[in-house]
Amino acid sequence: MTRDLVVQFLAQGAQMAFVLLIAPLAVGVVRRVKARLMRRQGPPLLQAYLDLAKLLRKESVIAESASWLFRSAPYLIFALTWVAAALVPSFASGLMFNWAADVVALVALLGAARALLALAGMDVGTSFGGIGSSREMMIATLAEPAMMLIVLTLAIAAGTTRLAGVADFFIAEPFGVRVSLALSLISLVIVALAENARIPVDNPATHLELTMVHEAMVVEYSGRHLALIEAASHLKLVLYLSLLICLFAPFGMAPATAGLSGWAIGLAAWIAKLLAGAVLLGVWEVSIAKMRVFRLPDFVGVAFVFGFIAILLAFLTRGVFA
């Protein structure tokens, strides 16, 4: 019995560690795919790890007007994002603490990280930080209603808001070609693009004031603080890819009772799907241009409309099967 508990505990810890270790690799894959499609050589796949190591070695320069909030925010932001990412079921559903991963709580944890980052952006008292913070909060107000509609659709379909519960439901009843879930998928992809500061919402590779949101908030950070914030944004990308996989492509995920071999298969499946998602993201970012900031309500509004139609269609089918 206790051996079982210890194994479960180690499995949960392993999920936390895997998520952290694979995040820079996913980002490396995205950058490499983008470079190759643009006929460049591109950075090596492990470059993100090397960047984090380099930043850790460098000294951290902090502005004179910065406060304790500025210094402590990176640790909290990293911790919040890591905990949120570690709670999304990856290679197995039903791990020890799976019940703590309620979708609403997960979205709120990410919201807390975002609020802290926005506050840190305002802390130094420059206009760049202000631009980044205000635009980031505006994008959040567009993305959160769409996210709520997605949660509602999943809750109507699966009857629970626990991520492990939703994953189990979709493994047990393959949903075939349900239109409402297809629309929810598109909606979640758009929300994920908005939340992760990817093209067309924000350009993660630029430092031009007019085209950046996330980069503007962290422009004053350097050294180990910047390393933590970069790691947090890599983790956020893995979180959303993992969420998409868990909700819409959960085949291969091991159920809670599977032993070590089942988990190994689940792990391999998860890593493969994650890297496939990274490749798709790279292709997408190359094929579309970044939008003007005030065109974003139209873009994220599409997510909202699709989410709403998904719910209406879910009501329709429920009227039949209920």
Binding site: G176, V177, R178, V179, A182, P297, I309, L312, L316, G319
Partner: protein
């Protein structure tokens, strides 16, 4: 049978999404492409109903919808727009966001109504009817919130698409009805095209607001 039901539901849902896409576009060319997509989806939906319910006469309906409304009419309208050189942009009475919100409310209304009223029908027919009613209402909405004469034509024809989807669900749609519907579509298109050409020739614009002023009411 649930597999067949799911696919027809999928196709009807895609048609609904294209109706929203018609409201979202800002360029006339994009509107015509969205309409072509809607008609092609309609053709697929009717063809699927023909295959799964074993009603071969619906294949002809599907073929007519595909060729006429999926290919011929959009191409003809593309060329009309190019030849007349009218605005490539859609003149809007109501903004995109507001139109989409109203569209969502109409979809909910259609659904609430059909699910309440049509209690005697088979379940999947009832759902297709709800979606078809929503598509009809969205087509109508498009006609009233867009001022461009070409988009009015497109709105009218998307209403027709919705009607055909609804009729597919009904017990058998005889071929003669379909032929007459097809002819009415062709004639109405012809009339619209002639009108648009004459209006453009006379007034140099097809913006309906400008035409309103020249109604001769003395207003």
């Amino acid at each position: 049978m649930s597999q067949a039901y799911e696919i027809s539901h999928l196709l009807a849902g895609v048609m609904l999404v294209t109706s929203f896409a018609l409201l979202y576009q800002e360029r006339v060319a994009a509107v015509l492409n969205a309409f072509a997509a809607q008609s092609i989806t309609l053709a697929l939906a009717v063809a699927w109903a023909a295959w799964s319910d074993n009603r071969p006469d619906l294949f002809i309906t599907a073929l007519i919808a595909l060729t006429l409304k999926g290919i011929v009419i959009p191409v003809a309208l593309h060329r009309t727009v190019a030849r007349l050189g009218i605005h490539r942009e859609v003149e809007k009475v109501v903004g995109v966001g507001a139109a989409l919100m109203v569209g969502l409310a109409l979809t909910g209304l259609a659904q609430a109504l059909v699910l309440k009223v049509a209690t005697g029908m088979a379940s999947h027919a009832r759902e297709d009817l709800a979606l078809a009613l929503a598509i009809i209402l969205l087509g109508f909405l498009m006609m009233i919130v867009r001022r461009n004469a070409v988009t009015q034509v497109v709105g009218f024809m998307s209403m027709e698409n919705g009607l055909i989807l609804a009729a597919t669900g009904a017990r058998g749609m005889p071929l003669v009805v379909e032929v007459s519907v097809a002819f009415s579509v062709l004639i109405s298109l012809f009339v619209f095209a002639v009108f648009v050409f004459r209006i453009r020739e006379r007034f140099d614009t097809v913006d309906l607001e400008a035409l309103d002023r020249m109604r001769g009411d003395g207003r």
